[in-house]
């Protein structure tokens, strides 16, 4: 795949906020990562990040959530939104959290985390650096 061009190529998936559809996000993220020839471990990290965010109670405001994957030369940026920044921020800080905490989890699987303000609200942005693999083709 030619990902060396200027503009990142963008894939989006919008899905209802229901647990049963998280698997669709996981498999599409996996499919894109496979197309980019990412090692299994990187693929798994991206899938885990998507699942972890989607498992948070994100959809208080809206019924749907969008996972956007922007593919640049050495980086995949996964953005998920619109989300309630308060909910995500407190999840990232691990407040009220009996689990691992979203912040700790994401820090382990992606290389950068931030928020973007878009027309429809806040989006959580995660950057994953990807290795340049030698391609056989």
């Amino acid at each position: 795949m030619d990902v060396g061009r200027q503009e990142p190529e963008i894939v989006t998936l919008t899905l209802p906020c229901e647990e049963r559809f998280i698997v669709v996000a996981r498999i599409v993220v996996g499919g894109l990562a496979a197309r980019l020839d990412l090692p299994y471990e990187h693929l798994d990290d991206l899938q885990l990040a998507a699942e972890a965010v989607l498992a948070e109670p994100l959809c208080a405001a809206a019924d749907d959530i969008t996972v956007e994957l922007a593919v640049a030369e050495r980086c995949i940026t996964m953005s998920i939104g619109p989300v309630s920044p308060d909910v995500i921020q407190s999840a990232l800080n691990g407040e009220h959290d009996e689990g691992i905490g979203l912040g700790i989890l994401l820090n382990a699987v992606v290389d950068g985390i931030g928020f973007d303000q878009r027309a429809d609200g806040a989006w959580l942005r995660m950057d994953k650096r990807v290795p340049a693999l030698q391609r056989n083709e």
Partner: protein
């Protein structure tokens, strides 16, 4: 869940288990129906009505009540949650998609773990899906599907509750014991209450991955298991913790 609730539950369980009081059993089940309901709600929508799922989940609850051992020193909810979820999942597995999974995909799913292992050794890094597909003589889509199936199976076997031959699924295993050496050093991990539902090995993996910052491959090497196994254990640990947390939250709401 209030202390009052727990006390009442223990008394009723004692009445049932020690004196065969059938009405006490009924009452315990009744007391915990909100829990079943909270768990069942997560599965609504797959052509299923909530009431039907509550029925299914109740079977899990009754099994947990019947098999509960008073002297194990845990609350009934801790024991019942995996059993109820197991019953719900078994319900979907029995009537749902998994019977549709072609044998070919199931076999592929079983082979992948070994292939990841072999290829990692050959390549000196984690293989790509394309490389896995080539080694397995199939295409990427099938590999991805097979990976999903592997996860679905491990999730199903995870919570199928007592009576399952997989010893890993005993919800009581590992409770209250921490392996010395890793817990003392870092403590953030130990402070995470959700981790207490995991067994020792799972807790150690979670610690190494998320608190010590090791990669899956490094953990695999450290623990002498395959990378894919590490991946699945992480995923199912997270899932189990999420379930536990959901229940903590919903039981708080139930007050």
């Amino acid at each position: 869940m209030t202390g009052q609730h727990d006390v009442e539950t223990r008394e009723l369980l004692r009445a049932y288990h020690e004196h065969g009081d059938a009405r006490a059993r009924e009452r315990v089940v009744e007391l915990h129906l909100p829990l079943v309901r909270a768990l069942a709600r997560r599965y609504v929508g797959r052509n299923e009505q909530l009431d039907d799922l509550v029925q299914v989940g109740s079977i899990g609850l009754i099994k947990a009540v019947d098999r509960f051992e008073l002297d194990r020193g845990v609350e009934l909810t801790t024991y019942a949650i995996p059993t109820i979820i197991g019953e719900l999942k078994r319900h979907f597995r029995d009537k749902g998609w998994s019977v549709h999974v072609p044998r070919r995909l199931k076999e592929l799913s079983l082979r992948l773990s070994q292939l990841v292992e072999d290829l990692s050794a050959t390549l000196g890094r984690s293989p790509t899906v394309a490389e896995l597909a080539e080694a397995a003589g199939t295409d990427e889509e099938h590999v991805l599907e097979a990976l999903e199936i592997g996860q679905a199976y491990s999730a199903l076997s995870l919570s199928s509750g007592p009576g399952n031959e997989d010893a890993d699924t005993d919800p009581l295993r590992g409770l209250g014991t921490l392996e010395p050496g890793y817990e003392r050093s870092e403590d953030r991990a130990v402070l995470v209450p959700g981790l207490q539902v995991l067994d020792e090995r799972e807790r150690k993996i979670m610690h190494l991955r998320f608190f010590a910052g090791l990669t899956q491959s490094e953990i695999a090497a450290e623990m002498g298991i395959s990378q894919m196994h590490v991946s699945r254990l992480i995923r199912r640990s997270l899932e189990r913790m999420r379930e536990e947390i959901d229940v903590l939250r919903s039981s708080r709401r139930m007050g």
